[in-house]
């Protein structure tokens, strides 16, 4: 119990700390930050339940007014834009990512974590964020894909690959550190 609560709090802080990593700017002009990498890592490392709770705590603390988002942003204003579906989708993304890593435990960790990050951290996330955007803006599907999905897609793909590599490296360094696997074994 204590360990789980500490792990959840720790990964919440980790997502915030990753937001401080200097951001890259892609060719599309949209800055990408390591923050959504943190969401994916919560799933691949902590597993479904703890990962989702860590991300949920992160989102709640941002809403409460802690400047935890990249660039020291936060507060309720974040949650009223049409793009807010991403924040609502974050815990679900971590849950799906974690679930895949937990269930699919016979193959190479890097590969499984990478694929899980694509399905959970991108697929599940956009499945929440894009319809939310279509309702809240309001927009059609084509517009939503162009203005809410396409700008973030390249960065998210890079981060999914990194999430796979990092999880694999952690597993190699110390197998027990990848808890989504350790608990299943």
């Amino acid at each position: 119990m204590e360990r789980n609560v500490v792990l959840i709090a720790l990964f919440t802080a980790l997502i915030a700390a990753l937001g401080l990593v200097p951001k890259l700017t892609l060719a599309s002009g949209i800055p990408i930050t390591a923050q959504s990498l943190g969401i994916m890592l919560c799933g691949t490392i902590l597993g479904a339940k703890r990962g989702a709770l860590a991300v949920l705590l992160f989102v709640v603390l941002v809403a409460a007014g802690l400047p935890l988002l990249a660039g020291g942003r936060g507060g309720l204003g974040v949650f009223t834009t049409p793009w807010a579906g991403f924040y609502y989708g974050f815990p679900i993304a971590a849950f799906v990512t974690g679930l895949i890593v937990e269930k699919w435990n016979r193959s190479n960790v890097s590969m499984v974590a990478g694929i899980a990050a694509v399905i959970g951290g991108i697929g599940a996330l956009y499945l929440v964020a894009v319809p939310y955007y279509m309702v809240m803006k309001p927009a059609g599907l084509g517009e939503a894909v162009l203005t809410a999905m396409a700008p973030f897609m390249p960065g998210d793909l890079i981060k999914a690959v990194l999430a796979g590599l990092i999880t694999g490296a952690l597993y190699k360094a110390r197998p027990s550190s990848v808890l989504s696997r350790a608990d299943a074994a």
Partner: protein
């Protein structure tokens, strides 16, 4: 850690946080029902007026917060110019600025402790069904305590990397960073358990 509430005291600071949040929810909902550019512009001007009430310093700090919206405004602006839907675009941009502006206003005038009290209140049904919400409250405190330590660790790892390599520390640093953090988590969990851990949920 510094929260995003404004150091400039306003009258709204002493209003109950729950009421401010409820008012914000209603205002945001109503804004989605308005489909008239001029009414929207008036509401936007009104919200700017609210920012100006506590004085220049508060106003500038508030506008600084709204600046982060510009990439989004740029994306929307380009879309509505390309599709030649100017009125609809103006309406959507004004709604975006107004809803974010009002929400930000609540954040700026509400202390972190008041917000956490609201979260605690929202968790009441969970306590009713027997869940221990003290774990959640402790987790909030832990995050605030752990974050500076994590940032420190990250800084030291990047320095160590720079001392050995001419290249910038890349994503590889995240691996030792996470390992260090997981070690700290074990120590922290032990320390918590040694001090009694989470007592049973006695309060209601």
């Amino acid at each position: 850690m510094i929260s995003l509430s404004s150091p400039v005291r306003t009258r709204a600071h002493s209003w109950p946080a729950g009421a401010k949040l409820a008012a914000l929810a209603v205002a945001t909902f109503v804004l989605f029902l308005i489909h008239d550019l001029w009414i929207m512009a008036a509401v936007f001007a009104f919200s700017l007026g609210l920012y100006a009430l506590p004085g220049g310093r508060f106003f500038r700090a508030g506008m600084e917060r709204l600046k982060v919206l510009w990439p989004f405004i740029a994306i929307l602006g380009v879309w509505h110019v390309v599709t030649a839907t100017y009125v609809e675009g103006g309406e959507i941009l004004l709604r975006l600025l107004t809803t974010v502006g009002l929400a930000n206003l609540v954040t700026m005038t509400t202390a972190l402790s008041d917000m956490i009290a609201v979260i605690r209140w929202l968790a009441t049904p969970l306590r009713r069904v027997g869940l221990n919400t003290r774990a959640m409250e402790l987790a909030i405190a832990l995050v605030i305590r752990i974050l500076p330590t994590l940032i420190d660790n990250g800084q030291r790892l990047s320095d160590a990397w720079r001392a050995r390599s001419p290249r910038r520390p890349g994503w590889r640093v995240v691996v030792p960073f996470t390992l260090l953090a997981l070690d700290d988590a074990d120590h922290l969990a032990d320390a918590l358990r040694a001090r009694g851990g989470f007592l049973e949920n006695k309060e209601t």
